[in-house]
């Protein structure tokens, strides 16, 4: 090895592809990946089987005869305790909750974050601190007083009431996200705009907004998945015909009446998970950035 006369140690050190390190490393990751993917796989294969096949086979085997019947049934005719028009009603309810909630929560939180980052006023830090600590208060503590407040203004069990609730509880994390982002915008740019005579809204719409599109995308991802996946607020602040998809899914699957149709249940579960999954796989790194920005800096 150390003999200078030999030409052997030359160039890159040979590293066998099947070294013990690599086998351990990739082996572990592969096993873990299989474990993580298993539930998704099970959901898919179960939802494509007929009930007789489910009773006979095991949950990991691929479907012998692929059928989309369970999907159709889950979407249009599965029964909760109350009605039998499937998940479609919940899907559209969720959409009707989601769109205004996302728009409203992001609009308000971005302006909040902007005011906090660039227009500091007396007391701003106090309210911001309360807001951030508020994110840690268990929702259960505030649930009932909010019911009373919404009832007072006539919005209890109304979809718009739920939109307000989502806006309120999305505010801490989103405000933090926007505030942190806006503080990275060079102070001098902000000063230059003020010298040029731009005011609060002028700077927000003409300078901050165009510069911050990525963070808006991150916020949208965060809110869409968060609100779509919500269960507690949906069940507390709406009435059965307004139930969002998650609540309806739970009612379908855990309904005690009738024979359990596991294939329909799994199809319904997949359908409900589809929206956040698609967002997740499409957005990729932005999703990670969203949760990391929300969590680490918190």
């Amino acid at each position: 090895m150390t003999d200078a006369a030999l030409d052997a140690p030359r160039g890159p050190k040979p590293r066998p592809a099947l070294s013990r390190r690599n086998v351990f490393l990739y082996g572990t990751l592969l096993v873990v990946s299989v474990y993580y993917l298993l539930p998704l796989y099970v959901m898919i294969v179960t939802s494509l089987k007929g009930m007789p096949e489910i009773r006979l086979g095991n949950i990991f085997s691929p479907p012998v005869e692929v059928t989309f019947e369970p999907w159709v049934k889950a979407w249009s005719s599965a029964c909760t305790g109350l009605n039998c028009d499937g998940l479609s009603r919940g899907f559209w309810n969720s959409v009707r909750i989601l769109v205004p909630s996302v728009v409203m929560s992001i609009a308000i939180a971005s302006v909040n974050g902007y005011a906090l980052a660039n227009w500091r006023f007396r007391g701003a830090d106090l309210f911001f601190t309360i807001l951030i600590f508020g994110a840690f208060i268990p929702y259960q503590v505030m649930i009932y007083p909010i019911v009373i407040l919404l009832r007072e203004v006539g919005l209890y069990t109304d979809l718009f009431g739920l939109v307000i609730v989502h806006t309120i509880f999305g505010m801490p994390i989103l405000t933090l996200l926007f505030r942190n982002y806006f503080t990275t915008v060079p102070e001098d740019l902000f000063k230059a705009a003020r010298v040029d005579g731009a005011g609060f809204w002028g700077i927000y719409f003409r300078i901050m907004l165009p510069m911050s599109l990525p963070i808006f995308v991150v916020a949208i991802i965060l809110q869409v998945t968060g609100i779509w996946n919500d269960f507690l607020f949906g069940v507390v602040y709406t009435k059965p015909e307004n139930y969002p998809m998650t609540v309806q899914l739970n009612n379908i699957v855990n309904s005690v009446q009738g024979v359990k149709e596991y294939n329909v249940n799994m199809a319904a579960t997949l359908l409900t998970g589809l929206v956040p999954l698609v967002i997740y796989f499409v957005s990729g790194k932005l999703f990670v950035r969203g949760i990391a920005a929300g969590a680490v800096k918190g």
Binding site: M1, T2, D3, A4, L6, P9, R10, G11, P12, K13
Partner: protein, 363 residues
């Protein structure tokens, strides 16, 4: 026997060739500086010597041992990083001793080594502190100490002073030089700061694009730059470059600058000087003499017009136009120039360089 020997090293990151067939011999006890702008491959070369990067081709020898495939810890090196890279949760003592303890060295022997290094660097009273409690200069000293305790044959420095302010930098520069005199180890030092290079180095390797442009003692690098790149990179304020041509005249050669001719009989050539249509005349500001009024007549002078004066404290820089080209000269601070003044300039011919415009090499 050379202390570090780099033979035909190449390094590629995918399709990007960072180092190309590079050769370098560092003598025992030598202080060698790798100098160049960021991205020239100097830190990459240092990391290859340290073993932190795998080379794509070639060999590295340290003290005659082929270490090309060896782990950094087995190469007999100590390294100081730009960001210090101290272990933040350990005390200074812990930072110095962590590597030794890990080798299984006896406790009292570790103690002895740490004490010796601490004494040499005058950080004995800091041993119990955490890095966060130290100033930038102190951290740098601890980082050097960590290399010191390893009893390494070769010390590698990766821009160790560039995170410090100007004053501290010049202080630590002197200290590193003293340290080298005391230890007499081989040291390889990477920097983009030419003052550091000129003051510290026994020899300087000027790098660009993964290739060593010139490797020589500082004096030669400064006065006989091998090509236009080295000439322009070294020196502040930088060298003047005047375009013109070399023609034969009266049995000798002259550099023709528009309507003027600079005789080249006192010029010190690297290779045989020959006529060239496209040439560059390079002269440092301190080698340009400016005459207001009558010149002494002993050497040829040329007319120029003053553009502006830049006082720099100890001396001043005068910017002039000569035959439509910019020229600067270093003059005594007491002299006064005004825009539009007509002056005459002379060149200190033995200290100038003439380059071929095509090859960019010195002639």
């Amino acid at each position: 026997m050379s202390s570090v020997s780099v033979r035909d090293i190449s390094l590629n990151f995918g399709a990007i060739r960072v180092l190309q067939d590079l050769n370098l011999e560092v003598e025992e006890g030598e202080f060698l500086v790798l100098l160049g702008p960021s991205g020239c491959g100097k830190s990459t070369l240092l990391n290859c010597i340290a073993g932190l990067l795998d080379v794509s081709d070639g060999q590295i020898f340290i003290k005659g041992r082929n270490v090309t495939w060896q782990e950094p810890k087995d190469r007999g090196i100590g390294m100081v990083f730009q960001s210090y890279a101290l272990y933040p949760q350990m005390s200074v003592e812990g930072n110095l001793s962590f590597g030794l303890r890990n080798q299984g060295m006896a406790r009292d022997k570790v103690r002895e080594r740490v004490d010796r290094a601490a004494k040499m660097l005058q950080i004995e009273n800091l041993l119990a502190r955490k890095p966060a409690q130290l100033s930038g200069g102190q951290r740098q000293r601890v980082a050097i100490g960590r290399a010191l305790v390893r009893d390494a044959e070769v010390f590698l420095f990766d821009e160790p002073l560039s995170n410090l302010d100007a004053k501290l930098r010049s202080e630590l520069r002197v200290e590193i030089k003293r340290l080298h005199q005391k230890l007499t180890n081989t040291m390889i030092y990477v920097t983009h700061d030419q003052i550091e290079a000129l003051t510290l180095a026994d020899r300087i390797a000027v790098m660009k694009g993964g290739v060593i442009q010139q490797l020589d003692v500082p004096h030669t690098i400064y006065n006989r730059p091998r090509n236009l790149y080295v000439a322009g990179f070294i020196g502040s304020p930088s060298m003047n470059f005047l375009d013109g041509e070399i023609v034969a005249q009266d049995g000798g050669l002259v550099f023709r600058l528009g309507s003027h001719e600079v005789p080249l009989q006192d010029y010190v050539a690297d290779i045989d000087l020959r006529p060239a249509a496209n040439a560059v005349f390079g002269v440092r500001p301190e080698h340009v003499e400016v005459f207001q009024g009558d010149a002494d007549g002993s050497k040829p002078t040329f007319p120029a017009v003053v553009d502006l004066e830049e006082p720099m404290g100890a001396d001043s820089l005068v910017w002039m136009t000569l035959e439509g080209q910019q020229l600067s000269a270093r003059v005594e601070a007491s002299r006064r120039f005004r825009r539009g003044d007509e002056v005459r300039v002379a060149f200190n011919l033995p200290m100038t360089s003439v380059f071929d415009r095509q090859t960019e090499d010195r002639m």
